[in-house]
């Protein structure tokens, strides 16, 4: 139980760290002077002290939506697979619920974008809706495929099972699922090549466009939400597709887990450095690949059993 709560707190704490880490790594790779990896915390602290400016055109949604964007993600944190062998975990929550909770968060984020009557917000929401619509099926299929390989539909239990028995006999579908999930990780968190979190150019913005009119603590909440989302995806990837290192003693296991998270972040950074942002209408090609792989994974598992 302590490990469980500790993991949650830890994940919450390192959430702002990971995006900053990616940013710093990228800058280093590009031979720039890197930003501090603590930048995320600094931004948060700065925003907490600012006043909130609410748009004149905005409605009650703007005042409520930020909380509703964050809270489903916080709830998901409780449902993640354990990082330490023998720790308490919520075994039963399945992929559909997790996807649903993420979608709930996205839903309010999109409404938030539309609320301020700005063209940017609408544009961001529209693009986000487009991407989310394609991400959702891939995500459900992927997680289900993995859960079924693990022999349990509950994601937490699946993580444990995978760690115990790595599905060597289903390597093909496992690999497909892993590729698909990694693409989803990039797409859902608005990383290059799907979205560029660092730009404020209307041609390229997705996530940033939606929150252009959000300020102060609201912005802090939204930013936290997006980093929590990254942590969720990263830790799902770590537990489901890199299911090792649970058997060590608790501190070591947690350390291994953290390493995995940073490794994933580093991979994302590498991809970001090496690719250009895709045009919006090229994004479906990428997501299409994810969907195809997810579908293939499920079909391979179902029909061929491989």
């Amino acid at each position: 139980m302590i490990a469980y709560l500790l993991t949650i707190v830890l994940l919450l704490l390192i959430a702002p760290l990971l995006p900053s880490f990616i940013k710093a790594l990228k800058m280093r790779l590009l031979f720039k002077k890197p930003a501090s990896i603590w930048q995320g915390y600094r931004n948060f602290a700065k925003l907490m002290h600012k006043e909130t400016i609410v748009s004149e055109e905005a409605s009650a949604i703007t005042r409520v939506a930020p909380f509703l964007v964050l809270s489903p993600l916080l709830v998901i944190l409780f449902f993640l697979p354990p990082v330490v062998h023998g720790a308490y975990y919520v075994s039963f929550v399945d992929a559909f619920t997790i996807t649903g909770l993420i979608a709930l968060s996205t839903f309010f984020l999109m409404l938030l974008g539309l609320d301020s009557a700005s063209a940017f917000g609408g544009m961001g929401s529209s693009r986000e809706a487009f991407i989310a619509a394609l991400v959702e099926p891939a995500m459900v299929l992927t997680i289900f495929s993995v859960s079924m390989m693990a022999g349990d539909l509950g994601v937490g239990q699946a993580g444990v099972n995978l760690a115990a028995h790595f599905p060597k006999e289903h390597m093909a579908s496992f690999l497909f699922a892993a590729i698909s999930f990694f693409i989803l990780l990039i797409a859902e968190n608005g990383r290059i090549p799907v979205d560029n979190p660092e730009t404020h150019l209307e041609l390229t913005m997705v996530h940033e466009a939606m929150i252009l009119d959000i300020t102060g603590i609201y912005l802090a909440i939204i930013e936290t939400a997006s980093s929590v989302k990254f942590v969720i995806f990263a830790s799902l990837f770590a537990s489901l597709f890199l299911p090792f290192g649970l058997d060590y003693s608790a501190p070591v296991a947690i350390g291994v887990f953290m390493l995995k998270l940073f490794a994933i972040a580093a991979a994302v950074a590498l991809i970001e450095v090496n690719t250009a942002k895709l045009r919006l209408f090229k994004v479906p090609n990428l997501l299409g690949i994810a969907i195809v792989f997810a579908f293939l994974s499920l079909i391979t598992f179902y029909v061929l059993g491989a």
Partner: protein, 627 residues
């Protein structure tokens, strides 16, 4: 005449739950209807006939109430018939529903041997003695699914529902479609049991297609009620996916999973009733205030119509299947039932089920996009027309209706175990295994899947957690006592206005573009350019319309064929004006010749001879020579 078993009572409850809030809403809406007597008469008969259908105990009363239901709903669509569009929609609706009735009629005639006062259970014997049960199944499917609006018999829905007065749209979409689902339950279980595997697969495929096609066309729609109507197609598809899974499991002798899938289907039926009625009521209130169904003319209504906006939001979240709402729970159950199938050993299933999973998942994603669009464009941002600017909250009765329906939605969310218990009882009444104990082994807090290694969801805990965390966050925010400032939205230095907002067309743009191969949109783009510059223009207009693929291919060609036929028949008939004697001559010849051949002694040679003689005689005597 009537029967009141659990299934009937469950569906009666559905109708009652759907109608009571509607009654309030309808009363509030009444002052705006010109033909009050007409409306009220048909409205109440409509509700009564729906109840009549679900409690009917023999074919005669079932068909009577069924047709009465169609008749009254048709008249209700015509209540405010002002435009050609309404009239055409009503006609199309009535024709389609009659078309379905034809198949139902045939079904009943075959399974009753013409004795229409036979009870349903007695029909089972007749049906099993019939040599072609699949024929019966097809009749049943065509009959009920044309009413329910499943692909490819769905085309009338987006026309008919928007044209009816809003309370009626809510009733039709929310409740009437479910009566067809009742029919599926009643007659597949009572009359056509057991089912071959193929039937279930067929229903599953129809359901998947309906779900996908419904949501895709909903996205491209700008008419808010047509959008909702398209979503009804989607949700019927989802219900049918559950239903199909139930049938498949039953034919594979997996009784527990089968009951589970059927319960999911009934649960979704209830959920769809609740949120779709609520959405139509909300749309009706908006329409009532803005006098337009065009979503592009709305905007910012949340400030003017808070109650409508709040209830609409609740329904939107629910229909998008987002946790922890009731819509999420039923879709979750359907998902779980599909994944209980991993160990089924049948290749067609192994291909069909992942496809259905995919369709359902895809539907979910697109539905979210669609409802963000519907809600965001309607209620958020700035008003896009004067009417939207001067909108007010609707009157007390209409608000009451919406709030009551919202209460139904919430009750479905909160009292899921109780509802599921009732559905379980209904299925037990139909001879299925009870699964309630397997679904709630640890009390009402957790809903388990009936499958092996199935997932678990705890709606109440989820709801509690979400509410708790949100409340905590908000409390924290309040505790910080942040200074707030109100300021205009920044829009690159220009003045923020309604015209700089994203439109619904624009919102759906990327998706429309992605599915362009399916939509084949009809775009109208007009631009007044200045001095021949391509990029400088004083005025521009962009419109896009999507005509459903099925309509342009299937329905239009049927219409053309009918026209073609009637044209030729008409031309042929006009021979009788001048050549009646020759007509009668040839007729006599044919009849006597045929009597001679068929009644006395048959041989192919003489039949051929008859044909030849008749052709020559018709050519010479009737058609004559070309002038």
């Amino acid at each position: 005449m009537f029967q009141f078993d659990t299934l009937s009572m469950v569906f009666t409850a559905l109708i009652v739950l759907g109608s009571i809030p509607n009654l309030f809403y309808s009363q509030g809406y009444l002052p705006h209807i010109e033909r009050k007597a007409h409306y009220l008469l048909h409205y109440f008969t409509f509700i009564a006939s729906m109840i009549g259908v679900v409690v009917a105990a023999n074919a005669l009363s079932f068909l009577l109430f069924w047709e009465l239901m169609s008749l009254t709903s048709w008249q209700l669509i015509l209540t405010e018939a002002k435009s050609k569009k309404t009239i055409n929609a009503a006609r199309f609706y009535f024709f389609m529903t009659h078309f379905g009735f034809v198949f139902l009629l045939l079904f009943f005639l075959i399974v009753t041997n013409g004795d229409l006062e036979m009870g349903f259970s007695a029909m089972h014997g007749v049906a099993s003695a019939f040599a072609y049960p699949t024929l019966l199944f097809f009749f049943l499917v065509l009959g009920f699914l044309s009413k329910a609006g499943a692909v490819p018999l769905h085309v009338w829905l987006p026309y008919a529902h928007p044209e009816a007065p809003s309370p009626v749209s809510a009733l039709m979409s929310g409740v009437m479609l479910k009566v067809a689902i009742y029919g599926m339950f009643r007659f597949l279980f009572d009359v056509l049991y057991p089912w071959p595997l193929e039937w279930g697969v067929l229903i599953l495929v129809i359901g998947s297609l309906s779900a996908l096609i419904g949501v895709l066309y909903a996205l491209s729609e700008h008419d808010i009620k047509a959008l909702l109507a398209n979503h009804s197609i989607e949700n019927i598809g989802i219900i049918l996916i559950g239903f199909g899974m139930g049938m498949i499991f039953d034919s594979m002798h997996l009784k527990v999973l089968s009951s589970f899938a059927f319960i999911a289907a009934i649960f979704h039926t209830f959920n769809h009733m609740s949120f779709k009625s609520l959405l139509f009521m909300g749309a009706g209130s908006v329409l009532h205030q803005t006098h337009t169904k065009n979503i592009e003319k709305y905007g910012g209504l949340i400030k003017r119509m808070p109650v409508t906006a709040l209830t609409f939001l609740l329904a939107s979240v629910s229909i998008s299947a987002l946790p922890p709402t009731n819509g999420f729970l039923s879709e979750w159950m359907i998902f779980q039932s599909m994944l209980g199938s991993s160990h089924l050993d049948n290749t067609s299933l192994k291909l069909a089920i992942p496809f259905a999973v995919f369709a359902l998942a895809m539907t979910g994603g697109l539905a979210i996009a669609c409802f963000v669009k519907a809600y965001g464009i309607t209620f958020l941002g700035l008003h896009r027309s004067t009417n939207a600017k001067h909108a007010h909250e609707v009157n007390f009765l209409m608000r009451t209706g919406m709030l009551l329906m919202a209460a139904v939605v919430i009750s479905l969310m909160l009292f899921t175990p109780w509802y599921i218990g009732q559905f379980d009882a209904a299925l037990v009444g139909l001879g299925h295994t009870s699964v309630y104990a397997r679904l709630f082994p640890e009390g009402i807090w957790q809903l388990h899947s009936a499958g092996m290694h199935g997932g678990v969801v705890s709606p109440l805990i989820l709801l509690g957690a979400l509410l708790g965390v949100t409340a905590l966050l908000m409390f924290g925010y309040k505790a910080l006592r942040v200074k707030e400032r109100i300021h205009r939205t920044w829009s690159c230095g220009y003045r923020t206005g309604a015209r700089t907002q994203y439109s619904a067309t624009g919102f759906a743009g990327p998706i429309r573009r992605f599915f362009g191969w399916l939509y084949k949109p009809d775009e109208h783009f007009h631009k007044e350019s200045i001095a021949g510059h391509g990029s400088k223009f004083s005025d521009s207009h962009y419109e896009v319309h999507v005509k459903p693929l099925f309509e342009t291919t299937l329905y239009d060609s049927v219409g053309k064929a009918a026209n073609f036929m009637s044209y030729w028949v008409y031309r042929l008939s006009h021979f009788e004006q001048t050549r009646y004697a020759a007509m009668i001559f040839n007729l006599m010849l044919t009849v006597l010749f045929s009597y001679r051949i068929f009644a006395h002694e048959f041989s192919w040679a003489t039949l051929l001879l008859e044909g030849t003689v008749m052709i020559i005689s018709i050519k010479v005597l009737i058609i004559g020579e070309k002038r």
